[in-house]
């Protein structure tokens, strides 16, 4: 596998193959990050598109500090936040619409597995505040270190760690609540 820094060097020289390699190398991971962060799952492709087009415009001047995957994932997270805000303004979407429903998802964005736990997790994810959700996803899916997230988002490492902790705690509480409800429904 070619190193990020070598790819960036080639990219900055205007090498189209370098951009292609970067896209192919990180596409699948970024799709997951976008799908996990967006309330409206049909926007996944658009977000990836916008990030790559913006990234392509930095040719000749792009400077990499840290991992490229980390940088692109943070870009996805920032775009996803803007999209979520815009969608909320337009449609005043409720939390239930954030549930992944295979029939509502069009195009390439399809969830292959719609297990009950997956649906519960997806619901729980949509309920935790966005700034906590993005740290959880960026860390667990993109495997970006807390330090890099803090650097790229311009906040302290302690803030990132707190958001991560609160995010996971809330997820656990929501899932415990769901599990109790299920037990209650079965018993009654």
């Amino acid at each position: 596998m070619l190193k990020d820094s070598l790819l960036i060097r080639r990219f900055n020289r205007g090498d189209k193959d370098a951009l292609r390699s970067i896209y192919e190398m990180y596409r699948d991971d970024l799709l997951k990050v976008a799908a996990a962060l967006l309330n409206d799952k049909s926007s996944v492709e658009d977000v990836i598109h916008d990030v790559f087009v913006s990234f392509a415009r930095t040719v000749g001047t792009f400077k990499l500090s840290g991992s490229l995957k980390g940088y692109l994932s943070i870009c996805i997270a920032n775009r996803a936040r803007d999209r979520n805000r815009a969608t909320r303004r337009q449609n005043a979407i409720g939390l239930d619409s954030a549930r992944l429903n295979r029939s509502e998802i069009s195009g390439p964005v399809q969830s292959a597995i719609s297990s009950e736990l997956f649906q519960q997790l997806n619901y729980a994810m949509a309920q935790i505040p966005y700034e906590q959700r993005e740290i959880v996803i960026l860390h667990l899916q993109s495997r970006i270190k807390f330090k890099q997230i803090a650097k790229l988002k311009g906040v302290s490492v302690n803030t990132v760690l707190s958001r991560y902790r609160y995010g996971l705690d809330k997820l656990r509480l929501i899932l415990d609540g769901e599990a109790n409800n299920e037990t209650y429904k079965k018993n009654s």
Partner: protein, 435 residues
């Protein structure tokens, strides 16, 4: 906390299947490539225009530009004139090395028991400080020069990767006295390769040498093998590996170092502590040379993971403020074994935060079965000072049945805010072995 993390990873992120389509790839890549082309065309034209306007704006700048051109011509003529008689200066080496993107070196070093061990290394100097490596792969063991085999389990390997901001250490089997079959890999954040490994010969390294070296002595001569004109330099210059006395051969024509030797003392006639006999500049880097592949059945201890666990739960471990590293290591293991002997499982669990839930049950059952009864002694800690791995603390423990066993533990001291927290990382191999 770790449980929910596992659920999110396994049941949500793994199942979040978002397949890409050919149409999507074409649309995104098509637009991105068009944007790239557009920007690439616009950037240089704009830059050129702005620079030209800036230069031509004032008469003083015009005069200064003319003066600079004349000066450049004079300097070029002087340099061309001198180039007819080949000479060498360290500044030329520094300048030439600035253009070097990667280096391959091979040679041998003397082990603690004075045996020669072959090594090779691929190095990409850091663009920020070329005396350090951004990418580095060091291998020691039995192999042919330039033979890159990432799946050879018997080589001692160090990989440093700026991309991952990580350092990987791999110790093959037969490294440890009590654990002949144990293979271990350590992963840590940062680019802290073993201080005993050979230095990175970037331009900044010689820049520092130029300022710091003492007893500098140059001698012109001919390389016996190649017949090329060379300069042989001896000097005293401290290295992190302890050896401070250098003999370096520079090629007068290319200005680059050809080989070097290092001694612990000024006796240049004795066997050197390290000898680099092959240096290749800008070698073809084998694919994946800066990737780390852990061979099967390797115990992997990831410092990054530990730091995150302790960072996310500051109640892990015990406080070891105001203790030096060796004292702290001994305190950590002695409190740990005390907790095990007293069956204080809550404390044991808190002190060993990296253990998985399933393994924890097995470990607890094993402790209950073998019943460690007394910590007889703690032997000298090893690996202290190597940031890329963990200190190792061997202990002698008497079981309730009277048998004596050895337990070797990795420990770590984590800085959480203002506090130093000491934790047990894992055992070196099986929890207990015969002494």
């Amino acid at each position: 906390m770790r449980h929910i993390k596992k659920i999110v990873k396994k049941s949500y992120l793994n199942d979040l299947n978002v397949p890409a389509s050919k149409e999507m790839d074409e649309r995104i890549l098509g637009d991105a490539l068009a944007a790239m082309e557009e920007s690439a065309k616009a950037e240089p034209a704009l830059a050129e225009l702005n620079i030209w306007r800036m230069i031509m704006k004032s008469k003083i700048v015009k005069l200064a530009t003319a003066a600079a051109i004349i000066l450049a011509v004079v300097i070029s003529v002087t340099i061309l004139d001198k180039s007819t008689t080949p000479t060498w200066a360290i500044e030329q080496t520094i300048e030439t090395l600035r253009e070097i993107e990667s280096i391959y070196i091979a040679g041998y070093f003397l082990t603690a028991d004075a045996k020669k061990a072959d090594f090779q290394a691929w190095i990409v100097p850091s663009s920020k400080d070329s005396s350090k490596s951004a990418y580095y792969r060091f291998e020691a063991g039995m192999f042919e020069p330039e033979d890159f085999n990432p799946y050879d389990q018997n080589r001692h390997i160090v990989v440093v990767s700026e991309r991952d901001n990580s350092t990987y250490f791999y110790f093959p089997a037969n490294t440890w006295t009590f654990y002949p079959n144990q293979k271990i890999a350590y992963i840590s954040e940062g680019l802290d390769r073993n201080p005993k490994d050979p230095p990175c010969l970037g331009s900044d390294f010689f820049e520092k040498m130029k300022i710091q070296a003492q007893d500098w002595h140059e001698e012109y001569g001919i390389d016996e093998e190649t017949g090329k004109q060379s300069v042989f330099v001896t000097c005293a210059h401290p290295t992190r590996m302890g050896a401070s006395f250098w003999w370096i051969q520079f090629d007068v024509e290319t200005k680059l170092p050809v080989c070097y030797k290092l001694w612990l003392n000024q006796d240049y006639s004795s066997e050197p502590a390290a000898c680099v006999s092959t240096i290749i500049y800008n070698p073809k880097l084998p694919d994946g040379v800066f990737e780390f592949y852990a061979p099967e059945e390797t115990k992997i201890l990831d410092h990054r993971e530990l730091s995150e666990i302790v960072g996310a739960d500051p109640t892990c471990g015990i406080s070891v403020n105001e203790l030096d590293t060796e004292e702290a290591c001994k305190r950590i293991v002695s409190e740990y074994w005390e907790a095990v002997i007293n069956q204080n499982w809550e404390k044991v669990c808190r002190m060993r935060p990296m253990i998985e839930e399933q393994t924890w049950e097995e470990l607890q059952n094993m402790y209950i079965n073998v019943k460690p009864a007394k910590l007889l002694g703690i032997r000298e800690c090893i690996n202290i000072g190597n940031k890329a791995s963990f200190p190792i603390v061997p202990c002698l423990i008497r079981m309730q049945n009277g048998m004596t066993k050895v337990g070797v533990l990795h420990v770590s001291i984590e800085q959480i805010g203002d506090e130093k927290r000491g934790v047990i990382v894992d055992s070196l191999g099986p929890e207990f072995v015969d002494p």
